[in-house]
């Protein structure tokens, strides 16, 4: 194969003249110039260095759209057929850049600002003050600590989900019914779960679970009275909602295991326990890791049940990072600090997930 072979089957040979190239470049740089001019005018106007400007930043957005259009067009003008290929991804790249990169940069600028919506002075850059505040904020660290507990609970959830999946994978009666029935909690909104279970069934005086508890001899049932109990109950409600999700993923994995492998183990004389630990579990590891990973991501967003049922109490025992940020951001309009907390949480999540995946990779693909 030679370098001249066109792997992408270009059907025409472009004859791109220098004049056409110059036109393309003029389009790009001209539109970029207009965009930067609009940004400069609006920025100077906003900061009071110019007496004229626009009512808002919308013209800058139009300038960006115009530049993006010119940039795409210039690819074809300058590069011909090759440029057309770029058009397959370029609009998407520009869209992602405007929807992810710009907001991220804007979010970072807010995170390092003192911005309380009630303040008449508006937003002001405050360097690392928010980081220092976070460092000394016992509520944030307490919420992070709680997140560790909540995340650890996934191991138990995983074990239960695996057990249920094995059950549904075996030849039991009404298998289809149970599959649907077990999935139902996942279909419920966590807010509905909070009200139905947390605020109604677990209500200490009239709730059916409290009545049952009294009937079996627990005189004064209290499901959210102590930090440990409250945290456990939040874990249980969250687990009840999301175990079906892990279960269905594991069930799909179990059904994909070749029957021959299991039969071979049986022929070799493996007991049921040996067959599980030596054959099924190792084969299920990739799907298990995926299920646990997705569950961790769900868990790190845990907030609705806590906000609805305990408001983070008693004394912050059930607070999650998200529920704390919710209070800081929404109830207290503390936009700058709330954004920083969310950014730091994002970084912590990325680092933790990366480490987790690396460890899993090492474990599953040992390099000898």
């Amino acid at each position: 194969m030679t370098a001249q072979v066109d792997l992408l089957h270009v059907v025409t040979t472009d004859n791109i003249t220098p004049r056409r190239i110059a036109l393309g470049r003029t389009l790009v740089w001209g539109s970029a110039g207009i965009l930067f001019l609009l940004i400069a005018i609006q920025a100077l106007f906003e900061y009071g260095y110019l007496s004229f400007g626009f009512e808002n930043w919308r013209p800058v957005l139009y300038g960006y759209a115009f530049w993006a259009f010119c940039f795409c067009a210039s690819q074809v003008i300058i590069r011909g057929e090759q440029g057309k290929r770029a058009l397959f991804v370029l609009p998407a790249v520009l869209f992602v850049a405007s929807m992810v990169i710009f907001p991220l940069l804007f979010g970072l600028s807010i995170a390092f600002s003192d911005w309380n919506l009630a303040s008449p002075d508006g937003r002001s850059f405050n360097g690392l003050d928010n980081v220092r505040q976070m460092w000394a904020d016992p509520y944030y660290w307490n919420a992070l600590k709680n997140m560790v507990y909540y995340t650890m609970a996934i191991l138990v959830e995983y074990a239960i989900a695996f057990g249920l999946a094995l059950l549904l994978n075996s030849q039991i009666r009404a298998q289809k019914f149970f599959r649907v029935a077990f999935l139902m909690p996942l279909m419920l909104s966590p807010v509905a779960v909070s009200w139905m279970v947390g605020k109604s069934m677990l209500e200490v005086r009239f709730g059916p679970i409290a009545r049952l508890a009294r009937w079996i001899g627990w005189d004064s049932p209290s499901f959210f009275g102590t930090p440990e109990m409250a945290r456990t109950m939040v874990m249980v409600m969250d687990a009840w909602t999301f175990i079906p999700f892990m279960m269905i993923m594991i069930l799909a994995g179990l059904q994909a295991i070749p029957k021959e492998v299991q039969e071979a183990a049986k022929v070799d004389g493996a007991s049921a326990i040996q067959a599980f630990w030596q054959v099924v579990f190792p084969l299920m590891l990739p799907i298990s890791i995926t299920a646990v990973l997705i569950r961790i991501i769900f868990k790190l967003k845990l907030a609705d049940i806590i906000i609805t049922v305990t408001s983070g109490g008693p004394g912050g025992a059930t607070d999650s990072v998200t529920s704390f940020i919710f209070r800081e951001y929404r109830d207290r309009s503390n936009v700058g600090y709330g954004t920083l907390l969310a950014m730091v949480y994002l970084v912590v999540i990325i680092i933790a997930i990366t480490i987790f995946m690396k460890l899993v990779d090492r474990w599953m693909n040992p390099r000898y």
Binding site: P120, G316, R332
Partner: protein, 557 residues
């Protein structure tokens, strides 16, 4: 009028006679040309006839009011508008109204009330409906990002600091004051509420305060009375009138049985869990009698420099009171928010005393889950044998007896016009005319008597005969209204500061209180100091100088 109260009345008071009376009145109104002005009567009688006719729409016992009823009420109360606005005067004007959609009330009613107004004046209203939970965030974001996209807003007085304090609201013209008859407001809703730096901004459409709700069967119980005497308590067994007595009664009741349910008896119910900032009002209801001195308008902050008073001896005593009776509260009280104490506990027969807004009184006989309808009584919040004099730094016993300071929690809803209409005289008059129509004296009577989300707030609303004539039970209405009127009109009522970000202070205090109640601080004082420190941070962040100035303005200092 709360929905529950209305429904109860509707169910309980319906009679053929009442219905015929209502039908006859409506017929008479229709015969008189729709306005019910009483063609053969003088002006005073005409007003009375109009109010009587209004209260017949749709009539007690004829089902919940519909949009057609709202429009009929809006039509019948257009008189004051017609006196100052020419027909079609606002042709071409479009106004945007931001309000709530709670329980299909608020904006739903306003739409109907304003439809005849739109037809008459030629103006059009565009509506922005918000859920209560989204309200604060939407308002704050509009203000902070300078994107106020509404001309008229339904707003609680605690937000006046955020809006009027920044010059975002339009000052009320004199003619509006005459149209809405502001002199008729209960005293606490008069200036400084609704005003800022001496200027008036608010058309009140609601009133709010915390009442004291108690179980009469507890305090009429002979066994309790005998046990009370046997234990050697001072004074007779009666409804406690001071917080000291509330504490004593709460401890006394521990170990006894509820006369109604036979389950464990309990005294005062404290909500120990936060409620999006609103939970702080309940500690405040315990604290006002200690902290609000009759000679001092301030009770939460020092007016000189915004130093919090929440860690002074009065507030610490209130917090300590809560801690002292935590063991006497029902199981799991640490997870009880104000909604729980009112609706899942008190109305369901747990506990004998609770502070709340008018909803508990209204729901006592009307809520399906209430079992205390026949055994509930109302009064203003308890007082205190002594009161903290913050300036002198000492406790004082007043010659006049226990110090009472009813907590005017939230101060009720109002209608405000935004300053962005000021540039155009036609829009300005149109917006104020719409606001005045919604806050009109006669329209407000209807709103307090039928499900609207608004409580009585005018002196004229407390004319019991108007209610009984409309078909309401006199004893019930009298008791219910008296407890509210006595709170509203109290000379030492504690009115919250209308400063920017007030709910930020409440929210952070709830977090600290949760820690105090969970035993994470060594003492109430230490916890209160933590609240004060958090409040200082908020004040510094928002701006101490501006907060102090706005706080002083809100106190009319």
């Amino acid at each position: 009028m709360k929905v529950e109260l209305y429904n109860r009345m509707r169910r309980g008071q319906m009679s053929r006679r009442g219905m015929l009376k209502g039908a006859a009145s409506i017929g008479a109104v229709a015969a008189a040309g729709g306005l019910g002005l009483g063609l053969n009567t003088g002006p005073a009688n005409a007003a009375t006839d109009l109010r009587a006719a209004l209260l017949k729409i749709p009539g007690v016992g004829t089902g919940s009011p519909s949009d057609a009823d709202y429009q009929k009420v809006g039509e019948m109360t257009l008189g004051p508008t017609k006196a100052v606005v020419e027909e079609g005067e606002f042709e071409g004007v479009e106004l945007t109204f931001l309000g709530l959609n709670n329980q299909n009330q608020h904006n739903f009613l306003f739409r109907g009330f304003l439809k005849p107004w739109e037809k008459y004046t030629g103006a059009k209203i565009k509506w922005i409906d918000l859920a209560q939970a989204d309200y604060n965030a939407r308002l704050q974001q509009s203000i902070a990002t300078q994107t106020v996209d509404f001309d008229i807003i339904e707003m609680g007085a605690p937000f006046e600091g955020d809006v009027t304090g920044r010059g975002l609201a339009s000052e009320m013209p004199e003619w509006v004051k005459d149209v809405i008859d502001m002199d008729d407001y209960v005293d606490y809703l008069k200036a400084p509420v609704g005003t800022w730096n001496g200027k008036t901004y608010r058309v009140s459409i609601d009133g709010d305060c915390h009442n004291f709700n108690y179980r009469t069967d507890y305090f009429e119980n002979e066994d309790f009375a005998a046990a009370w005497a046997a234990e050697g308590h001072d004074g007779p067994w009666e409804v406690p009138a001071t917080w000291q007595k509330v504490q004593e009664v709460t401890k006394f009741l521990t170990g006894k049985k509820d006369p109604l349910s036979g389950l464990d008896a309990h005294g005062y119910l404290d909500p120990l869990k936060g409620w999006g900032g609103f939970g702080f009002y309940f500690l405040a209801s315990r604290a006002t009698a200690y902290a609000k001195h009759p000679d001092d308008p301030a009770w939460l902050f020092d007016p000189e420099d915004m130093k919090p008073r929440v860690n002074n001896e009065a507030w610490v005593r209130a917090i300590q009171d809560v801690l002292d009776v935590m063991a006497d509260q029902p199981t799991d009280q640490i997870n009880a928010d104000p909604g729980t104490t009112a609706f899942q506990q008190f109305l369901a027969g747990t506990g004998s005393m609770v502070s709340w807004w008018g909803d508990v009184g209204a729901g006592a006989k009307t809520s399906d889950s209430s079992v205390v309808g026949e055994v509930t009584g109302f009064s203003i919040l308890p007082g205190s044998d002594d009161v903290w004099n913050h300036k002198e730094g000492k406790w004082e016993t007043l010659d006049s007896g226990p110090n009472h300071a009813p907590n005017m929690a939230y101060i009720g809803w109002g209608v405000y016009v935004m300053a962005r209409v000021d540039a155009d005289p036609k829009r300005h008059k149109a917006a104020w005319s719409a606001a005045a129509h919604l806050g009109g004296k006669d329209l407000s009577l209807w709103a307090s008597a039928y499900p609207s989300g608004f409580q009585p707030y005018r002196k004229s609303h407390f004319n019991v005969s108007e209610w009984t004539e409309a078909g309401y039970d006199e004893a019930f209405i009298d008791d219910y209204l008296s407890s509210e009127a006595d709170s509203y009109n109290h000379p030492n009522a504690a009115i919250e500061p209308r400063i920017p970000g007030i709910f930020q202070y409440y929210s952070v205090a709830e977090d600290e209180l949760a820690k105090i109640y969970a035993g994470q601080y060594a003492s109430a004082q230490e916890g209160a100091d933590a609240i004060a420190a958090a409040w200082e941070k908020i004040t510094d962040q928002i701006g101490r100088e501006s907060q102090t100035a706005l706080y002083r303005a809100s106190l009319n200092l």
